[in-house]
């Protein structure tokens, strides 16, 4: 049985009369199959003075599907958006700690966030195609990046990879908004793929879709995982179990009188291991449905 290697540094603090174990835990897979893409080190995210994510450390590996799971409000989406600097768009957001991408500090002053997002793409919770034609939606990213080659070919290839080509090949000039929800989301994936990213981040991509459309997207993920590193946030445990190779379980700490919750990483392991033999009691409670 593979075990997660843990290096724990324990700080025991008195907090309003109760003992709180503040553990800064570095989570790594003991025998990774592929090299690291992201090295996240003691990541803290603040919105103003409120800490939304506390001391997260983990490594994400290439060409695998990594799932972030946990109850709502535990900072999964905030975490995800740190990986492509989308939190930059929020005025009050502040990131502390390190996110290294292929060894490069993503938050270094010299790093251009626009360039970051070309390599680390994102698919959002609610499909958000542009109010343009299907063709123009997929072509948008490459055009922005200055692509001068065979655009038609690139479009077809991207739509093929997103398992949408057969359904739309005769109506590329129609409005993207005329597609069904599931088709729109696959279009968004095609749009993302067209930029030829290295990593694809998915923020609950199926939560707005029906089960059949969800199945399509999950199959799609398995097909493309050989080419892209995928990190998916999902509130659906079964989906994580079906789809991912590695899972990170987050939970929310509630602070006394405040209504705000801070996200922390509890456990990070191969999916099979986490769901059959979790190390932490909190994880076990969550995956067995005792709370959620």
């Amino acid at each position: 049985m593979d075990q997660t290697a843990l290096r724990e540094v324990e700080n025991i603090e008195r907090h309003e009369g109760a003992f709180l174990r503040t553990a800064v835990v570095h989570h790594e897979l003991a025998e990774p199959d592929t090299p690291l893409v992201f090295e996240i080190d003691a990541l803290n995210v603040y919105y103003g003075t409120f800490r939304a994510v506390r001391d997260v450390s983990l490594g994400i590996h290439e060409r695998q599907i990594t799932a972030f799971i946990g109850p709502s409000g535990c900072g999964k989406t905030t975490m995800l958006r740190c990986l492509n600097r989308m939190n930059d768009l929020v005025e009050t957001a502040r990131v502390e700690g390190g996110v290294k991408y292929h060894g490069v500090d993503l938050y270094d002053k010299k790093v251009d966030p626009v360039e970051v997002r070309r390599r680390i793409g994102m698919v959002f919770q609610k499909p958000n195609p542009f109010p343009k034609t299907i063709y123009e939606n997929v072509a948008f990213g490459p055009k922005i990046a200055g692509f001068k080659g065979d655009m038609d070919g690139l479009i077809e290839q991207s739509l093929q990879k997103a398992a949408l080509w057969d359904e739309v090949k005769d109506r590329l000039k129609e409005s993207a908004w005329s597609l069904s929800g599931g088709q729109q989301q696959r279009l968004c994936i095609a749009r993302c793929i067209a930029v030829e990213p290295d990593v694809i981040l998915m923020d609950e991509p199926c939560s707005a879709l029906d089960p059949i459309a969800t199945g399509h997207i999950e199959d799609l993920m398995q097909e493309i995982k050989d080419e892209y590193t995928i990190v998916i946030v999902t509130h659906n445990m079964q989906q994580a179990a079906r789809v991912s190779d590695v899972t990170a379980f987050f939970t929310a700490e509630v602070h006394g009188d405040q209504d705000r919750r801070t996200g922390v990483l509890v456990e990070y392991d191969r999916t099979e291991q986490m769901f059959t033999n979790p190390s932490d009691e909190r994880t076990e409670n969550y995956v067995t449905g005792r709370f959620g």
Partner: protein
């Protein structure tokens, strides 16, 4: 942790590409151009205020409050004042308040609280929005026909009452639209609560909906009055005096059915007199008008901001 030659190679390339942060020149230029367009508008405003103040402040320094009480004249700049104009504006505004506000708020109450969503209702809505877009001078034409030619018996012809009624019709659509918005902003839960304890529709409106909507209605009222204060074209058409005004000892109520002038009318007339003295007078009159207008608009904005925060 990160092992393997392959990762190092990719890392180098990635590092090189990522760390070459382009100074987004196009983006910055674009942003500053946009800011410029905003600032140019404000610049015009600043120049206008500066010009008017520098020309007109001298009148107040020399004559002080005498300017505010002086009589209208287009001949002698030294004694000409805006006293009658202010009085006339006041008379007109009184009529506007007494006529446009009750009818406007009443119409808004009907449209928002009583009327069902039928074709007729939608037609009335469209009609009100169209009326809001009709040029002021056309209302002047209406006033000319209705109040000067058809109904001089009631209005007295080219009087302050006529002017007030004409402007009341002009601002009516604005009052209706702003009051409707204020009423719509009141949450339905309040209405349901009232109906739930057995109150009638009017009782709910009177004791819950109207008081909640009152700040918004008040804001709309102030903006309408401010608009009416600055209107000139319709009043010219219904006979506001521009030259000499003889008001001899009439009591307040009689003044409504008497000749009159208003502040913007005087400004218009004096602006055609090119002498430096009258230029100064015009500027001084503008200062008075602007002071009132800007104060009123500021009050409305403050009222609206404080009101918006409540919900």
């Amino acid at each position: 942790m990160s092992g393997g030659v392959r990762t190092m190679g990719t890392g180098d390339i990635v590092a090189a590409k990522l760390q070459h942060r382009r100074i987004d020149l196009r983006g910055k230029v674009f942003e500053y151009l946009l800011l410029l367009s905003l600032l140019i508008s404000l610049l015009f405003l600043a120049v206008l205020l500066f010009e008017v103040t520098s020309r007109g402040i001298g009148v107040f320094q020399e004559r002080g409050a005498d300017f505010l009480t002086g009589r209208l004249s287009v001949v002698t700049a030294m004694t000409a004042g805006v006293g009658q104009a202010i009085m006339g504006s006041l008379l007109v505004l009184v009529v506007v308040v007494l006529v446009a506000i009750p009818i406007g708020v009443g119409a808004a109450i009907y449209m928002e609280e009583y009327a069902a969503d039928t074709k007729v209702t939608r037609f009335i809505n469209v009609n009100i929005r169209n009326l809001a877009g009709v040029p002021a001078i056309v209302y002047g034409l209406l006033g000319l026909v209705l109040f000067v030619q058809i109904l001089p018996g009631i209005t007295g012809g080219k009087t302050a009452l006529t002017g007030g009624l004409t402007l009341a019709i002009l601002v009516l659509p604005i009052v209706i639209i702003t009051s409707s918005e204020a009423l719509r902003a009141v949450p339905d839960s309040i209405r349901e609560a009232g109906i739930g304890v057995g109150a009638t529709k009017w009782e709910v409106i009177r004791s819950h909906v109207l008081p909640s909507a009152l700040p918004g209605i008040l804001t709309g009222t102030i903006l309408s009055l401010s608009r009416a204060l600055g209107e000139t074209a319709p009043l010219l058409l219904v006979g506001a005096t521009t030259g000499f005004l003889a008001t001899g000892g009439a009591n307040f109520f009689e003044m409504f059915r008497d000749s009159y002038t208003t502040l913007p009318t005087v400004i218009f007339r004096w602006s055609s007199l090119p002498s430096a003295d009258f230029r100064a007078l015009t500027s001084a009159a503008i200062l008075v008008l602007l002071a009132i207008t800007i104060l009123a608009n500021a009050a409305a904005i403050i009222l609206r901001n404080r009101y918006e925060r409540k919900w």
